[in-house]
Amino acid sequence: MSTVRIPPVLRENTGGSRSVEVTGGTVTEALEDLFARHPALRDRVTTDGQLSGFINVYVNDRDVRYRDGLATSVGPEDTIILLPAMAGGARQA
């Protein structure tokens, strides 16, 4: 099982869980398993079946854009991090 780290803005879709254990040999397979466990997540992070452009996906500390994209392999010890941009700060501008 590999671990998917759930960012704060998506935790309402995982019942508050900060990480979810999933199976799958690639990022795609791991995310499919994640969506099977938490169906509401699918629409939050995918658009027309593709991962949305505003979500960065890392396997451990590596951005999959610079590896094999969603085909990047994932091992049982690996952590997948879903990272949408966060805005919060001063109410300014």
Partner: protein
């Protein structure tokens, strides 16, 4: 070189040495550079003892020339004099006793350039003691101009520490007024400031903390048509805004003007911090090419935020500012640091420059018109 001083050279007292120097003896200081920097005989030549064999022929080609060697107390200059005597120098004397005696005897002395006033030396003593800072680093801080976008949650702790540490100019961009709901985290402000402009409240607080820091108030919102004017005069920009439009606008202008941006964002129990150094590392668009929809990016006023969170993220940002200004250490350029206050964990992921980035990539207009990569240490502080 020998360890046994050879007695064919002469050792002299400070009083004699001052007289000999007046008669035309050439003074050679065999101490180290750092000792020289702390003050030295006026008109002397620095040749550290270990460099003597290599440099003496160039420094004193005439072996009959009268030479007066000195160090701190006379040990190193004794060895140096013995060595020169062996080489065939015929008129070498070594000053015996503390170099302070030279000063007491009225010998010409040059004090080091004073980078800090006595008051500044007292105020900043604890950080001037740090080898990576010292007087020179403190001077850089005093000369630095740092712009904070927002005088709220992140801006508050950052401004407090930058001012306390002697950052010379702090610019604040904020057109908001202090609201009661701000006080849980915006520690620049207080109950007696409700309704006051945040930049005015910030100025009062910062002046009380450090009257030497100049607070420049920009009562406006950062937008595409004023961003370049706002950031142009500053060395480092600190981004603590809460919406993506502003972050992209700031990013593109900062890349164009080659200003490093220290980025912080917070949400409930989580914070993210990184540093964007144009063309040396990725920019904000490299990291997030696409803006998320509004429901995935709620402001603090909607989502809530733990009071200490901007304190923690802000301190990490302030730390980045110090390193950028001082030109020391490793910044977060190319790394996104993620802090989870609920689990008290820090994680980081690597972020890369995107060759296709519309702001700083190979095809970008700013990249094409600006040939040389920015050098942070020279771009700031100096």
């Amino acid at each position: 070189m020998t360890d046994q001083p050879n007695r064919t050279f002469r050792e002299v007292t400070a009083a004699e040495a001052v007289g000999l120097a007046r008669e035309g003896y050439r003074v050679i200081d065999v101490r180290e550079q750092n000792e020289w920097d702390a003050g030295h005989v006026a008109g002397a030549t620095l040749v550290p003892l270990r460099e003597l064999p290599e440099r003496i022929a160039e420094v004193a080609p005439d072996r009959a020339a009268p030479l007066l060697l000195h160090c701190a107390v006379g040990a190193r200059s004794g060895r140096a004099a013995a060595y020169l005597t062996q080489l065939g120098y015929t008129d070498v004397v070594s000053l015996k006793g503390p170099i302070d005696h030279w000063k007491q005897q009225g010998g010409p002395w040059e004090e080091p350039a004073q980078l800090l006033s006595p008051g500044q030396q007292r105020r900043y003593a604890r950080q001037v003691l740090i080898p990576e800072i010292g007087q020179e680093g403190q001077r850089r801080l005093l000369d630095a101009k740092v712009l904070l976008i927002g005088a709220g949650g992140l801006g508050s702790p950052i401004a407090l520490y930058l001012a306390a540490s002697g950052v010379g100019t702090i610019g604040l961009v904020d057109d908001d007024v202090v609201d009661e709901s701000n006080l849980q985290r915006q520690v620049l402000h207080g109950v007696d400031r409700l309704g006051m402009r945040k930049v005015d409240s910030a100025e009062l607080t910062l002046r009380g903390l450090n009257p030497e820091t100049v607070v420049t108030k920009h009562v406006e919102r950062l937008m595409a048509d004023n961003v370049e004017r706002l950031i142009a005069g500053y060395d480092v920009i600190v981004d603590g805004t809460d919406n993506f439009d502003t972050r992209y606008v700031l990013n593109d202008a900062a890349v164009k003007l080659r200003k490093p941006v220290v980025h912080g964002s917070i949400y409930r129990w989580d914070g993210q911090v990184t540093t964007f150094v144009p063309f040396d590392g990725p920019c904000y668009r490299c990291m997030y090419p696409t803006q998320p929809p509004a429901e995935l990016a709620p402001a603090c006023s909607v989502a809530g935020v733990l009071g200490v969170l901007p304190g923690i993220a802000g301190m990490l940002q302030a730390n980045e500012v110090f390193k950028l200004v001082l030109g020391v250490g490793e910044t977060l350029a190319g790394r996104l640091l993620m802090f989870d206050a609920m689990g008290t964990t820090f994680d980081e992921v690597r972020i890369w420059r995107d060759p296709a980035c519309p702001a700083c990539g190979e095809g970008a207009a700013t990249a094409a018109t600006t040939p040389e990569p920015a050098n942070v240490a020279s771009a700031v502080g100096a």
